[in-house]
Amino acid sequence: MNTNALIKTVNLTKIYPSGEQPITALRDVNLVFGAGEFAGLVGPSGSGKTTLLNIIGSLDMPTSGSVEVLGEKVEMLSHKKAARLRNRHIGFIFQTFNLLPVYTVFENVEFPLLLLGMAATDRRKAVREALAWVGLGDREHSRPAQLSGGQSQRVAIARAVVKKPGLVLADEPTANLDAENSHHILQTMETINRDLGTTFLFSTHDAKVIQHLRRKITLIDGRVADDERVPA
């Protein structure tokens, strides 16, 4: 047993009821991720990448099997405890950025810290630091509607890492970005991973992302088909 495991899945299975023919999204997935990994779930659409990411992020529950994240068994968590786990330890980056439209860039990044109940001065410092990491220190008063796709995703990254979580889950983070923005964003995430030791787990089928991964887990039809570590 890997005692340093940040994430551990044991015989993880997820079945979605769908009429007479239930859909099996994940079958007996057994994976272990350690701290500081820069790993990706790859595979075609419908292979179960996002489902696995959602379960690890405690947004969904497994049908059977077990998932342990930062020592918490996801399937045992109540809504409230799952929310606390996400709030304290997990950052999310979404394909469609999911910024809160009525808030400014600063307020969007500040949001997870507000949920944590951090003091205002500490919040301000952390938000400015996070915005500096993603190179958007000069856009803190802008609204999401005033940002480009690349800028929006950088705000989303800042929001995900501002609380310095142990784990960041990124679901197709470059799917809506051009090559240049994708490259910039991946570089930013690599820097954060290196400097802060944050574990990044991607779901992607974007070759540009795959190039940067140091561990590549291929999912096909909900099964782990390959688990490849890329030498540095």
Partner: protein, 390 residues
Amino acid sequence: MIIPKLAFRNLIGNGAKTWLNALVLSFSFVAIIWGQSLFEGMDKEMSKVTIDQEAGGGQYWAGTYDPYDPTTIEDAPEIIPAELAADAAAGKAAPVLIVPGTIYPKGRMVAIALKGVDPGQSVLKLPFDRLRRNGGDIPGLIGVRMAKNAGLAKGDIVTVRWRDKAGTFDAADIEIVDVFQSQVQTVDTGQIWVPLDDLQKMTGRTSRATIVTVPEGTGPKTYAGWAFQNHEVLLKDIKSFVQAKSLGFSIFYITLMAMALLAIFNTQILSIWHRRREIGTLIALGMPRGKVIGLFTLEGSLLSVLAAAVGAIYGLPLLIYMAKHGWVLPADQADSFGLALNQALYPAYSLGLVMMTILLVLAATTVVSFLPTRKIVTLKPTDALKGKWS
């Protein structure tokens, strides 16, 4: 403190939609406060003038006297209890003897009530001092309504006929010494005020009265043959009238409020539908569902706070103007109600009324804001993040 802060941010961030809802809701605020204060003012004014001119601090009614039953008036008068007679002599009580009579102004026969009152009394604020005799005919005092209905004026002599204690008809001339103005119809319409001594002598009812009015602050006492009537009885008609009018008017502001609440309900449903991806994001970022529900509910509830602020902007000047100038009723409208209504109604605002209105609107807004948010409980965050509605 995070929820109020976020709710306020979201509300302001919604822009015109928020302000439109707040404006519609503010109409309810202003209408409720204006309407209720108008009736409160009406109640106070009518009660005050009725207390001043008729009810005093309460009345002792003799024997079977019932103002709503004319057949009881003739036989009701009783000997004034010694204590009340002493008070009357000291100006601390006002005995009134009521005797049915008939007058014949300009050849017409008009049924009236002759009311005998001491010209020196100081309990009732009517110009009864004009009834002091200077020889000649019996002085009579009437109100403007009586003067108008009977075609009488100051200086007129009118023949009055009555039945004395033994049932014998008698008649005399009365000189109208003055015509007074009063908004209390029950001291005016169909009656002539004469000196109490004269009426007692005319009807053979020496030392008797039908009612004795005492000043405010006088506690009720028990006298054989007399029953004390407090404000609850004496102002009952006013209270019932105001209550009925207030109830009728409430339909107006209930309709206004229903419109505003419907708009808020609709906005909440649309808001939750449009913002399902945002709800998913909030949950993903670690906000518990209860807090998400609290956030959306508070956004709706805060509308009532904004509405109060918006209402204050245009409502305060309006309400202050109304308090200063009153709401003038159309000519003769006041009399048509049959109660002591003034020609202009002055609203009476109270902190209690304003606070009650704010609480009422806040509670109603919170309920209609909360109802649609229950849907959030069943929303799967993974679907919400994709903009789906599970």
